[in-house]
């Protein structure tokens, strides 16, 4: 009855969303609130000679206009970076200042120049049109590889050749070169993993509120991690006292990575509010979101994989130029390095791996984590290599993978698997997921259908992708050594109320993942109480002690584990009280179904009675404190490593190059599952985004680094009729090192699906010969040109 783990419990949070009662940042209206509109650079790179705000200042409703000069003169710092990656020679990465508004020079189209604050949204917008800026356009660069060439426009004077860092991981280059020389066959791919725009359906928004009487600051913001935002805001940007700052991330309409970061607008709203002594709200337009939300991916890579005669992988060599954009976003340096290079072992026993990454500044929006962050890039690279190699060596792509997989290990009886690229995988049976996927797709039958279809002139294709990812990024000591400037633990507080109802405070933030349900299931199940007796509180730094937020599929593995630690403390303390009340020895008690029972008797005391006793401690064990409220910090021992096998079946229209995704099969292993309905939902959403990258999405910059598809009229979002119903299944290999045995499911779908779709299209195009130059997204024209020769 109170057994909730593993059940598809309907979501607790749904009712408010279904009835229009969700509370998103832009829904909040505070007394006396002002509205901000940010004037942005139309140029990707330009000097500001002069800004004339005089006309705008006199317009109706305008309260104040601030420019970058005002910000600079106030003496505050810019937006910091949360991760440091050094040059190979040991030099610190280049970390140029990132002001809230620029004063001298704009470095990307959309760089903030001035903010208009008015009594209404309309008046702020009208006044912005009347600000005259004397621009001096400078040459700009958007392409990461071109940006490193001599003579390329410099984004920051302090970063020669626009290099932020260069970085290497794995076996020494010479060892890899040597292994490559032994190879019977080398598959080489040169490609761009294009820039995609996260497009959470809720655009970013921020309200800054300073109350003069109390000296208290409140920031309402669309954030995936309010505590980190508070820390950065206080310690690095504004230097305001952290204990007087409250950051609230109320309901947040999706993030997908783009709302992890601390953005300039958040600090700016607080800064403005402090000056004007009134709350100030900024809500991004979608057009603005396109050009200011941190984008994802944007790697230019050359990848080579060497094989022996039998098809065993011998070595992998990767050189990547990673576009970081114009400034360093919060986790930007970490994504193409520690979240990408470390995943290049994939599922394969590759004996030698070397990865070399150059982080590059360009005149584009910041690039940072986007669903999967680094891991999709690594997977795309490996899985395109695998399918291409299979084609080139005339082997079956599934067979080639099965041959090269790391043998099964559970991380308990068998040790974890040490890779060539710094990680130790926790547990896995990689053959099992692919075999299950082949079974679901009906592989042999499909190949026959395909052969028949080809005879009829139809282009059917099948593509595979098997992946591993690293979730629940940790432990703090390790990530600290790798450059993280924050710990990556999580906080979980469980407060049992006197009536036995339970409030749980978590630093993990939910913006669609269903924490209010999943976490409640864990708590109710462990305490043996009804789900309805548990409330999950998140997203408010005044309620929740601390937290590191939600990203990298860390919530349950790290945040959930912190809660479990607190639950253990609750049960332990409860046992003391129960033993006293039952006049039994603690070790004679067992806790199950919400009560402590003296083993072998029917003597028991319910959880609620123990809770009441804790708060009304009239008859109470000696030396035990009243109350029942525990907080725990959980710092994980290792990452978790979900994995899976995805298969796509496509049909390409010979006449137009249009690709129709006909089937998509995904078998994922995310460890133990608390709520299968929610996990399935996470997989579905990830698949759509990964398929989106393969077929539809991609930011386009022209030669002047102008973003030319910055609206839904030009940036293709996957729609319902672009996708099939997904066929999904899972295997379960528990994570051996966290108490719930969970691995994380948020990004899996997005990581595995992209290469599966591209591989399927390449397979469909097999009758046109083996070519490798098809770049994502696979637009009809690209595919058509590929067929033309």
């Amino acid at each position: 009855m109170t057994n909730y783990i593993g059940k598809a419990v309907k979501r607790v949070e749904d009712k408010r969303f279904l009835t229009g009662k969700g509370r998103y940042t832009d829904d909040i209206v505070l007394p006396g609130m002002l509205y901000a509109y940010i004037v942005r650079s139309p140029y990707a790179h330009a000097k500001i000679n002069n800004i004339d705000t005089s006309r705008a200042e006199n317009m109706d409703g305008v309260v104040k206009i601030y420019t970058g000069k005002d910000i600079a003169e106030s003496g505050i710092n810019g937006i910091p970076t949360g991760w440091q990656v050094n040059f190979k020679n040991g030099d610190t990465m280049k970390e140029p200042p990132h002001p809230l508004l620029v004063a001298d020079k704009a470095r990307y189209m959309g760089d903030g120049v001035a903010v208009v604050i008015a009594e209404s949204r309309e008046e702020a917008r009208d006044a912005a049109d009347e600000i005259d800026i004397d621009w001096e356009e400078l040459p700009a660069v958007a392409n990461a590889k071109k940006a490193t060439e001599d003579g390329a426009p410099l984004v920051h004077d302090e970063a020669p050749n626009n290099k932020c860092f260069d970085w290497e991981l794995g076996n020494p280059k010479e060892e890899v070169d040597k292994a490559m020389k032994q190879a019977h066959h080398i598959t080489t791919l040169e490609f761009t993993n294009q820039r995609v725009i996260p497009n959470a359906m809720e655009t970013r928004a921020a309200i800054g509120q300073y109350e003069e009487a109390t000296g208290k600051y409140t920031l309402y913001t669309t954030s995936q991690n309010p505590h980190l935002t508070r820390l950065l805001l206080c310690a690095f940007v504004l230097g305001i006292p952290e204990h007087r700052v409250r950051v609230v991330a109320p309901d947040v309409g999706g993030g997908f990575g783009s709302k992890i970061f601390h953005y300039a607008e958040e600090a700016l709203m607080i800064w403005c509010s402090e000056r004007l002594k009134r709350p100030v709200k900024w809500t991004s337009d979608r057009s603005e979101a396109f050009m200011t939300d941190a984008h994802g991916r944007d790697h230019i890579s050359k990848a080579e994989m060497g094989f022996d005669k039998e098809g065993n992988v011998l070595a992998l060599r990767v050189k990547t130029h990673a576009n970081l954009g114009a400034y360093l976003s919060t986790f930007a340096p970490c994504v193409p390095t520690w979240l990408h290079g470390t995943l290049l072992q994939g599922l394969y026993v590759t004996p030698k791996i070397n990865v070399d990454v150059t982080g590059v500044f360009t005149n584009t929006v910041m690039v940072d984590a986007y669903r999967g962050a680094g891991r999709p890039e690594a997977t795309y690279l490996l899985e395109r290599l695998m399918d291409t190699a299979a084609l080139e060596m005339d082997m079956d792509p599934a067979e080639l993978r099965l041959k090269n997989f790391i043998p099964p290990f559970d991380g308990v009886e068998q040790p974890g698997y040490q890779t060539q690229v710094a990680l130790q995988y926790d547990s896995g049976n990689y053959h099992a997921v692919l075999k299950r996927a082949l079974e679901m797709v009906g592989y042999e039958k499909f190949r026959k259908e395909q052969a028949q279809a080809r005879k009829e002139g139809k282009l059917l294709g099948i593509g595979f992708s098997t992946y591993i990812e690293a979730c629940g990024i940790a432990p703090s000591a390790v990530v600290g050594a790798l450059g993280a400037r924050a710990g990556l633990y999580e906080v979980g507080q469980v407060r049992v109320q006197p009536t036995g109802k339970v409030s749980v405070f978590t630093g993990a933030h939910s913006h669609g993942q269903g924490h209010e349900t999943t976490f409640a299931q864990v708590v109710a199940d462990r305490l043996g109480i009804p789900l309805d007796d548990v409330e999950i509180i998140h997203g408010d730094s005044d309620s929740v002690a601390f937290g590191m937020g939600t990203y990298g599929s860390r919530s349950l593995a790290v945040g959930g584990s912190a809660i479990v630690k607190s639950l253990d403390k609750i049960i332990e303390k409860g046992a003391k009280i129960a033993a006293h009340k039952l006049e039994a020895a603690e070790e004679d008690l067992e806790f199950a179904e919400g009560k402590w029972t003296v083993k072998g008797t029917d003597k028991s005391i319910a959880f609620g009675d123990v809770a009441l006793t804790a708060y009304v401690p009239h008859d109470y064990p000696e030396g035990v404190e009243p109350g029942m409220d525990f907080s725990s910090f959980y710092d994980p021992a290792n990452f978790t490593y979900p994995y899976g096998a995805h298969v796509a079946i496509v049909e390409v229209d010979k006449d137009t190059g249009y690709t129709k995704l006909k089937r998509f099969i995904a078998v994922d292993d995310v460890g133990n599952v608390i709520n299968p309905m929610i996990v399935d939902g996470q997989i579905h959403g990830g698949l759509a985004q990964g398929i989106g990258q393969a077929l539809f999405e991609g930011a386009m910059y022209d030669e002047d680094a102008q973003l030319i598809n910055g609206s839904y009229m030009d940036y293709t979002m996957p729609r319902a009729d672009d996708l099939p119903s997904f066929e999904i299944d899972r295997t379960v290999t528990p994570c051996p090192h966290n108490p719930l045995g969970v691995k994380g499911a948020g990004e899996a779908g997005c990581i595995g699906s992209t290469p599966a779709v591209v591989n399927a299209v390449m397979d469909a195009l097999r009758p046109f010969g083996i070519k490798k130059d098809l770049e994502m997204p696979l637009t009809p024209e690209r595919v058509w040109r590929h067929m033309q020769g």
């Binding site: 139309p42 990707a44 189209m109 356009e137 002047d704 102008q706 030319i708 609206s711 009229m713 030009d714």
Partner: protein, 152 residues
């Protein structure tokens, strides 16, 4: 955006060239241009009102005639700014006499857009360019046929 096009006129090259060098004529035949004021040798201040379907904007900026090779070619350098975005274009104009009284005018150049126009206007750009060049050629043709408009 690449700008390219050509049209044959029933006039000798030097006549067309001369017309194109005349500010008043140029102002009359260039679609959208409402004002062209000479600010220096071969340099003009230009005001344009573009009204096309969903887009309507007032542009102002500079127009410069460079690399003059009378009567064969010149380069038109345009910089126009507006609230909805900015346009910068370098267009080479070639006049080739294909007969005694016939000349082919061809242009080839690049327009660079920034701001809102660049971000939202992609779908319509080549159509705009096509229509504007059609209008320009038509207007030039009419000028050539109308002796009253011949520059002195």
């Amino acid at each position: 955006m690449h700008l390219k096009g050509s049209h044959q006129f029933n006039a000798p090259a030097h006549q067309i060239f001369k017309m194109l060098m005349d500010a008043d004529t140029l102002a009359r035949i260039t679609p959208g241009v409402s004002e062209l004021e000479e600010t220096g040798p071969d340099t003009y201040k230009a005001i344009a009102n573009v009204k096309m379907g969903p887009v309507s904007g007032s542009f102002s900026g500079q127009l410069e005639v460079a690399e003059k090779q009378e009567p064969e070619s010149f380069v038109l350098k345009i910089q126009q700014n507006s609230k909805i975005g900015n346009v910068a274009a370098d267009v080479k104009i070639d006049l080739e006499e294909t007969g005694a009284e016939t000349t082919t005018l061809s242009f080839d150049g690049k327009a660079r857009l920034s701001g809102l126009l660049a971000r939202t206007g992609q779908r319509v750009l080549s159509g705009v360019a096509n229509t504007l060049s059609k209008q320009f050629f038509k207007a030039l043709e009419e000028e050539l046929e109308n002796p009253a408009h011949q520059p002195a």
